[in-house]
């Protein structure tokens, strides 16, 4: 990353107290163009609070957030608590964020494999489907900065990996900066450029490998799962696509 470039987003020394509890203390971070920054931390560490402050949804007591002028932000919220009483199909939901006639509507729909879902009610989507639809809505704004709050929530393990690799692809395709929250460092290892381990303050930060070895990280999360569990290394003769359907790797393997 070119250090001299103006970052898309810079948060400086953010502090906030809510209801007598110090939620964040002097937290700073930067997201540059094409960079993926991941926030990890235990429950109640202030990850979502920090993101809300960055998005301007909440005001910090101290510190400032500087977003590069004119930067479009795509936001993928953690939850979507839609009333059962609202008839809302996926296509209508998407059109709330961007114009349906936009030229890249179809491209994004194809890319996120949600073409089959367009005429379904939002309330009937599975966890993984809902996350992809939310991501699609964020992308349709052609964001220069993507903010993702727990993008893999409610997605099964294979789907999680697929979603993360999709996020990496998106970063390359759109050249946007990404700020995301994750609960598991090892899942985002391959995806992220920089990790901030947050627990009210920044405990440690840096490249994912170095963070995973950092004493502050180990104290918060304990030894990595891989050290405690014997990992069964094996090779699959097929993979699951983002739907969970089986894709055989016919080019690499010949069966029979």
């Amino acid at each position: 990353m070119n250090e001299k470039m103006t970052p898309l987003l810079e948060a400086r020394e953010i502090s906030i107290r809510l209801q007598g509890r110090q939620l964040l203390e002097r937290v700073s971070l930067q997201v540059g163009q094409g960079e993926i920054v991941t926030l990890i931390g235990p429950n109640g560490a202030g990850k979502t609070t920090l993101v809300r402050i960055i998005l301007g949804l909440l005001k910090a007591d101290q510190g400032e957030v500087v977003v590069k002028p004119g930067v479009r932000i795509g936001y993928m919220p953690q939850q979507l608590a839609l009333s059962e009483n609202m008839p809302l199909r996926v296509e209508r939901f998407l059109s709330l964020g961007a114009d349906r006639s936009a030229s890249d509507f179809a491209t994004i729909v194809d890319e996120l494999l949600i073409g089959k879902l367009l005429r379904q009610p939002m309330q009937r989507l599975s966890g993984g489907e809902r996350q992809r639809v939310l991501l699609a809505r964020a992308l349709m704004r052609r964001p220069e900065l993507l903010v993702l709050d727990e993008p893999v929530q409610g997605v099964d393990v294979t789907g999680q990996a697929a979603l993360y690799s999709l996020i990496t692809e998106i970063r390359e395709r759109f050249g946007c900066g990404v700020l995301m929250i994750s609960h598991d460092l090892h899942l985002v290892m391959a995806t992220t450029d920089q990790v901030l381990c947050l627990n009210q303050h920044v405990c440690c930060s840096g490249h994912p490998e170095s963070v995973s070895q950092h004493p502050a990280y180990l104290e918060l999360f304990g030894a990595p799962a891989s050290a405690r569990l014997a990992v069964y290394t094996h090779h699959h003769d097929h993979t699951h696509d983002i739907h969970g359907d089986v894709e055989t790797e016919s080019e690499e393997h010949s069966h029979g």
Binding site: L55, Y75, S83, N85, M86, R89, F93
Partner: protein, 263 residues
Amino acid sequence: MDDFLLRALIAGLGVALVAGPLGVFVVWRRMAYFGDTLAHSALLGVALGFLLGINLNLSVILLGIVLALLLVAMGGNRQLSQDTQLGILAHSALSLGLVVMAFQTSIRVDLMGYLFGDILAVTASDLLWVWGGGLCVLLALGLFWQPLLSLTVHEELAQVEGVPVARMRLLFMLLIALVIAVSMKIVGVLLITSMMIIPAAAARRFSRSPEQMALIAAGIGAIAVALGLAGSWHWDTPAGPSVVVAAALLFAATQLGGKTGYP
């Protein structure tokens, strides 16, 4: 058809056509109790209108605005849950309205008329208020439909996407206050919320999009008005409550036919 019955029908249809589309938002945003609170406080608006000698519709609208602002301000108070705040406001405003009215011995107020509506006594100027106010509300709903919908689906997402959330929320409360003010005389402060909620709930089953639900709710409300007035004429029952009973029966009918789930 008698003149007064025709006026009643026109007034009732005016209320139904605007209460339906506004009501779907009340249902989606789970604000039924909020609507009730504004409606109950309308009686205080009437009492204050008498006291100050200003137009009653106007005083009800003004009080609605004050209460909406008060609720927004109270929203910051996390110590009391919102339903408790609303409960306090709704019933104290209603009681205060009754107390203020009792002090005004010089005027005889038709209390039952304000509580449950007096649709058969609708005058030409009432019609003007209902249809004029109603058209304003529908116009505003049409203009701000997309941001209001976006806000209803996910408030924070809407805000990040540039919807002026605080202003839209206020606008929505104003629209409710306006509808209550103009339809108070027709269905009464205790029943007006039902004209927003029951047709909207009945419309849910047949709707595949938000817009469809708003239109169907208006239609079901209009049918309820016609049926209720006919019933009231036929069996000599009170008109406002008869309309609400008709709406409730229509809602019950839509729930028949098994649990197929929503479309």
